[in-house]
């Protein structure tokens, strides 16, 4: 289960993996009739942060990875989130995203969305690394993470 062991805080002494921060404005269309973010939209925000995190770590756009290296993507195999405080239209939130675990062919990412420094949403997701399988049209297959990718995900800076 994705959520079962994904959310302990890392001890201060542990070296951190690669991470990014970005700010995002909560848009009108992100919010529901209760005036708060429609929670599936948080996953869209987290997904975008994951793209930026991976691009940031590897120093290359995903579109280039797709074209040049046959990368099929890094689909989510599990995700979970806790919604601690609502956020609303017009809020400027900060999203911090970091790798939390690098496995053989999968890896985990944690997203923390804060409003005025207070944690509002925490999300954890597990992704796998897939490449195009040329043996069938549109085919994809999981692949062991390349060593240089592992090294970059583990680095503290790009």
């Amino acid at each position: 289960m994705a959520g079962s062991n994904a959310t302990p805080s890392m001890p201060e002494s542990q070296p951190r993996m690669f991470s990014i921060r970005r700010t995002a404005r909560i848009e009108w269309g992100d919010c529901d009739p209760a005036g708060i973010v429609f929670y599936p939209r948080y996953f869209a925000m987290f997904n975008h942060s994951t793209e930026l995190l991976i691009e940031g770590a590897l120093g290359v756009k995903k579109i280039t990875l797709n074209k040049q290296h046959g990368l099929g993507g890094f689909p989510a195999v599990a995700t979970e989130a806790r919604f601690l405080l609502p956020t609303r239209y017009g809020d400027d939130v900060e999203i911090e995203s970091a790798f939390t675990r690098i496995g053989r062919s999968s890896f985990a990412i944690r997203h923390k969305l804060t409003l005025d420094g207070v944690l509002a949403v925490e999300g954890n997701e597990t992704r796998c690394w897939v490449v195009r399988d040329e043996s069938r049209p549109g085919g994809l297959r999981a692949k062991v993470l390349p060593d240089d990718v592992v090294a970059k995900f583990n680095a503290t800076a790009a």
Copy 2:
């Protein structure tokens, strides 16, 4: 944590809580450039099923609950999902949704999305019951689940 104990299969002998099934066509706009469902869209599908599940159990539309009973909603406090198989544009999927736990002021729901009878996505979510707090504009506060609501969530049929 929502995900930690939410996914065991219920033993056959255990009385089932209220549940619904619906079919849904995967739409073009649900899918991403990899040709598979953009996973935040699954949460939108699950959210809609939750609305239908609660309306079905209570025999009344949420909009009526909002207007007549001061219900502020039943926001998600935690959610998680496992993505076992991709689904694609044009797929007709079935979504089965059931209450799995009724607490004092929160409750849990499980969604199983199947394609041709095979489990593709399983989601679990925890919701709380909130009412409008008239003491401040737009205010909401959690409330103990009313007894009749508990009874209806626990019933096997509406």
Copy 3:
């Protein structure tokens, strides 16, 4: 005004082109903090109706067209809508969609979304017919509409 000359009613004597009707429930996630549908969602509803309209006319799923006939899609080249009445969470709306013009390589579709028989939103869109261009990866090019497709779009029933 964009819509001012786009929506003449067809005279009764004019032969109608192929059309479909479907109902849709306005979902919580379709609505904004004003409690009404976030208008980009209408275009997602219309887009789905267009897929169903074309599939209905041709008697085959788009996914099959893509695979077997090299169809690259029928992207929108222009669209417009007038929002006459708001619709809200829980509303059961009806969407009627019909071809209104078949050109050489493009065609037009009109969508009428009604609530309790009253027109709430009218949308008009122009689409073109594109096929895969095998001369470059991911390439697409516009193509003259095949005769059998034109005949089926013009038919009053599938």
Copy 4:
């Protein structure tokens, strides 16, 4: 064609109204299986630009307008767009938005989305100004645009 009379270029000599520019990254979740933006997402982008344009012109957040001035919003009454060139995941696009007409209780806005300086999508929308109608719950009614709002929409800078 919907767009045929909606988009006259303003003569160079005409004073420009208030306008803004912003850049946006096309996200994975904005794109469809054809690898291009799912067009309803353009309207979500344009809607966000409209919020920023109005906030920019008035020098105040919409949320403040809502709370302090009883503004109910500025719902779209009509919108149209022409899709000239596709944009794709990872593209950094620029969106320029400007008032193009200020009426008595409605106003028009034009959005131009460019990629590398080339126009990809042009959208035009008409909005009206509505206030809360305290005589009925959730009520809204159109209102004549306040003079100071008109002045600010017409100004070339905030």
